[in-house]
Symmetry: C2
Subunit: 680 residues, 2 copies
């Protein structure tokens, strides 16, 4: 799956590749605004923000602020946010997942990337300028133009990463405008009682069978990392919601698709402080956390809002606080004096969570077997119903969600299902909505990128299918995407290799004929946590690959206005068996744990090498061995038959050696003629 946070690079690439092809607004369209018309034209999808802006501007004046910057994220740098944190959406009407708004006393502008330009023109009213870029340099230059010298440019420091804060600081440096952090959020003041209340649902302990180790073991492990670190930190500060959820084996539902809850943790060498709405903890959860009290394994429960004050007090001592800069806001970071900081990109909890232990690996494998059942049921259902023209993208998405819900331990989808037919699949980030949904057809390709949350694991898989006659380009592109998926999946590489140095193997088959895709090649994934779990993956800010990590592998190809292809599997990094071994550690390779066959109708076998076909056949054998019995157990006979047919081994001889094999055949038949002529 390929949404917000990690798609930023994708958007940039696409933008780079397709410059000039940006969706422009012809005046005849009625789905987008036209602010140059008289009177201005607004589509029904636009939000009237005049009153909201007036309220916010009054508040700006009260605080002596000349420009206020509003981001799209929350105080935990979450990829997905709750309704309560959708400040950008409330203020602007724009509902895309990434953007930045700046409001001055008489102007308002929104910056977003190319994925969202059309959507923004549909949702913004004419109070807003749309800026078709996301560079902070550009935001800074706009601010310098509209804010008078000596003016105050303000923002909520608890909603900005350290990096982003520094970029704004650089952009305004020496300009005589002041970058003014305000701890009270001005949008929240304007939003007032219309702002959704905080979640009050229960925060619960995961049953022991669904955890890799007890929270006490995890805490001990982190404390060991602290002791072993050369800087000898006295505490670890956790801001990422997954970090606290993973550490204490707790889950909640504060954020759609992500079973996490609002919280911070300060884990010191002798104490544990969990900042959370205490009343929401289940009795069991509270008992578990308090079972070691008093003592170093006693969790002190503190109010969520107390984290800053607590940290400020703690930082007065002779301490060193270890934190991951990628998930810490500038607001929290700035509380700690520089010399008491131990900064790394990711906290030790993120690093520990990234390497799954044997039980976590088993759970993720098991979740993928049940997930494969749901996906196979969906593929079979599509085969039977698409030809009747009764399925559209939206009803399809509902159907796959329903198949997943029916599986054991299911907790629903792990992200909003991407279900895209024909040209819609060429949009990197398409999700259908009820009412504007394309009907699936045997004349078009169909791409679905979906995943599930299960108590034992999180899944994410993309398959692309065609039920009719694909064009030669569709078949070639699909086959080359598949070759890329295979080439990366079967790669053998040294321990500690960075993902970014091997992801091109997923592209080479496309590159060979001048094709490519504009997004990343994969991301980490959790055990009943985030579908995009950093820091594992193939991008430049991902950490080196180690045995026990899980990552998606998802090359694709997108033909603007025509079709889109993506083939995505989740794979576990495992030790490889090699004849030799350079270095101290075994070499690594991938074990693909997604277990759903590819569309035979779209594979041009003549492009594959014998090694690729052999790999494919052995993968299909594993699918049969693992998913077949589960289908039978669930008494899904039709799906079982479908699976057997779909995983028939491919003939190896038809690859590469085509010419020689043909020669062999011709000779053999000539021989048989001769032999029969001889009466042999």
């Amino acid at each position: 799956m390929s949404p917000p946070l990690w798609i930023a690079a994708w958007a940039l690439l696409l933008h780079g590749c397709a410059a000039g092809r940006a969706p422009q607004a012809p005046s005849t369209r009625n789905d987008i605004r036209d602010c140059s018309a008289d009177p201005p034209y607004l589509p029904p999808t636009a939000t009237n923000t005049t009153a909201r802006l007036a309220v916010l501007r009054d508040i700006l004046r009260t605080h002596g602020v000349h420009a206020y910057i509003v981001p799209s994220t929350d105080a935990h740098m979450s990829e997905y946010i709750s309704e309560r944190d959708a400040r950008l959406g409330w203020l602007t009407g724009f509902t895309g997942s990434a953007g930045t708004a700046v409001v001055t006393r008489d102007k308002a502008a929104l910056w977003t990337d190319s994925r969202y330009w059309t959507q923004a023109e549909r949702e913004l009213d004419c109070n807003w300028e749309l800026q078709r870029t996301t560079s902070i340099e550009s935001i800074g230059m706009w601010i310098l133009k509209v804010v008078p010298a000596e003016g105050n440019v303000s923002l909520d420091p608890f909603l900005f990463s350290i990096d982003t804060w520094n970029s704004y600081s650089r952009a305004l440096h020496g300009s005589s405008r002041t970058l003014l952090p305000l701890e009270t959020n001005l949008v929240d003041q304007g939003w007032g009682d219309q702002r959704p209340p905080p979640s009050s649902s229960e925060i619960y302990s995961l049953p022991a069978e669904f955890t890799g180790s007890s929270w006490q073991e995890k805490v001990a492990g982190i404390r060991q990392r602290m002791e072993q670190h050369v800087r000898r930190p006295t505490a670890v500060l956790l801001s990422g919601l997954e970090e606290t959820a993973w550490l204490f084996n707790l889950r909640g539902d504060d954020i759609p698709y992500n079973p996490v809850f609002y919280s911070y943790t300060l884990l010191t060498d002798t104490t544990i402080s969990l900042f959370v709405e205490q009343s929401r903890l289940s009795v069991q959860a509270r008992q578990s956390l308090r079972s070691g009290c008093p003592g170093p394994l006693c969790v002190e429960l503190q109010e969520y809002g107390q984290v800053s004050a607590h940290l400020r007090r703690y930082a007065q001592g002779n301490v060193t606080v270890w934190l991951g800069t990628e998930y810490t806001t500038y607001g929290l970071y700035a509380i700690i004096p520089q010399e008491k900081l131990l900064e790394e990109s990711y906290s030790p909890v993120m690093m520990a969570k990234a390497v799954k232990n044997a039980h976590e690996q088993e759970m993720l494998r098991a979740a993928h077997v049940r997930d494969a059942v749901a996906v196979i049921q969906y593929l079979l259902w599509l085969e039977n119903t698409v030809p009747q023209g009764q399925v559209d993208e939206f009803s399809g998405a509902q159907r796959i969600d329903a198949f997943r819900w029916a599986q054991e331990h299911s907790r629903g989808p792990s992200f909003e299902s991407i279900s895209a037919s024909g040209l819609n699949a060429a949009l990197a980030h398409y999700s259908p909505s009820n009412g504007s949904s394309r009907t699936l057809s045997a004349r078009e390709m169909y791409l679905f990128d979906t995943g599930g949350q299960y108590l034992d694991g999180t899944t994410d898989i993309t398959r692309t299918v065609h039920w009719g006659e694909p064009t030669p380009l569709q078949k070639e592109a699909y086959t080359r995407v598949l070759m890329g998926n295979i080439d990366l999946s079967r790669l053998v590489f040294p321990s500690n290799t960075a993902g970014r140095t091997v992801e091109s193997f997923a592209r080479r088959a496309l590159w060979d004929v001048g094709l490519n895709y504009g997004h990343g090649t994969g991301h980490g994934i959790g055990n009943f946590l985030s579908v995009h779990e950093w820091p594992v993956g193939f991008q430049s800010n991902n950490v080196p690959l180690e045995a026990g990590m899980f990552t998606s592998i998802e090359p694709g190809y997108y033909q603007d206005g025509e079709f889109g292809i993506r083939i995505e599997d989740v794979a576990l990094v495992v030790e490889a068996q090699t004849e030799h071994q350079s270095g101290e550690k075994p070499f690594l390779t991938f074990e693909v744990v997604s277990l759903v066959p590819y569309d035979r109708n779209l594979i041009d076998l003549s492009l594959l090498s014998p090694e690729q076909i052999r790999y494919l056949n052995s993968y299909y054998e594993r699918i049969r061995a693992h998913v077949g019995p589960e289908l039978r157990r669930q008494r899904l006979e039709a799906a079982y038959v479908w699976l057997q047919e779909s995983t028939e081994p491919f003939p190896v001889s038809s690859a590469g050696t085509a010419g020689t094999a043909a020669g062999l055949l011709a000779l053999a038949s000539l021989l048989s003629v001769l032999l029969s002529g001889l009466g042999a």
Copy 2:
């Protein structure tokens, strides 16, 4: 070729891989020092530094300094340095190319990487601790241990990069020790009149036929980049010696193997200041530089030592100075107020120089044809003389240097020739010396990594050969190194791809069987300039590949204590012909311009794919077409015959399809028997 600057990553990797295998000092060895013996044992290769240290310590006291840091580079961040800049060598006796010394009032220590540990034990006396690491964190911790609180830690800011300075600053931050920059160099004070004088040889203009464009055109191009930059810089500051040499089409010989001269340039929108020892300029050079005076294309000649004062004055105005941080010292950098700086990793001159124009490409191609003649002559000479046991590594190196000198436009080797037989080739950085040189033998592999300076181009090539019976591992490893070289050379990839994302293609064939190499895969190269020309290459700090760039491609394999393999070619990035094209720009691939065949004796053809063999055959065709006529022109008939034999096409059918081909053959012969039996 794979020495100092860019080998840092190599050393780290090797260290990572071979931890624990560091050469230890058994007390029975007499080639290294033994400071625990009584009296301490020093080999004859060690230098007595007691007097030098005493002098330096007196100077330290005079300046109120408690520790002084001495680096291995010069004021231009050069990879190679002149004798006059070999401060580290004079002070310590250690002659390796990378290291850092710290001297306090009663201690002295040297930090260097694993390539140099044994060499350091041979060259240091017992005044010195050897620290087997190069991390600045470790140097900082040592300093904190031995320097009292409130002490001064000093260094010459004109010998440290901005990055390195910042690292020391961080390491001492909050420690109550002061990092004190001293513009007068304390080692130079101690060295006194024993220090070699500055070079006085002539600085000359390259003849027009050997330049890609006039210096006036180059200056105009850089000024255009300044105008087009969003920050509108008013000046570009050049510290790298190659930068000034390239910009003005001037050359000198201040540094071994590198035809450059000590200089700085400040190019503003209206003026040009060249800081250089004026009396050294040839009449022609001076005329060329002054031909546009007065005016914006007039070069004002300033004394080399005036650069700081001039820059300080310039920086007082309303200016913005553009510089590349990789080649600028902290000393110069700190002169410019932060808000007047435009910092990028590489200056616009480095970026312009990296992309060769059509004439520069032609020159580099032509230099490689003549260079191939020298290398082929050497290979033939080795074949004839090695069996008699009369060649050793040192005399071999002399011989290849001589073959190069005999070629037109030759200006000698482009680096110290690496000539390594048997186990010596397993050392990444081996160069033979007269007296300690291994005899070449038909029973061992031999690796030579050499290059030439020609007026039209710089070359760099590595071939590995075996004149007898290689072991199965040698043959397999050589073939897989070759496969890696081929796979990267024939790769098709999108424009603007970073080298680091594709360099693994040079490793995969090795990885497949658990082998690898611990160094980078290639580096840029100049037109009669540096053999390691940044910022082109495959490492993480290299810039994206563009058509017109040249880079080496040099995978290898090293078996500790046994043998070493490297196959290095120089390749030009060119546009590829692809069936499709994603994005706006054509895809790219490489054209290998090194034109010397590989050792057939070491190739296991059965490992190669048909595509690899076809590539090899077409490369050999190009060698014949380009080098054959040149050999004839030079009347080198024996070499011509050798070339024809060595470039015979390989049979494609013997690869991959072995099984099928064998079947075909068997059938065909059966058929012929039958036919002859029939009297056909």
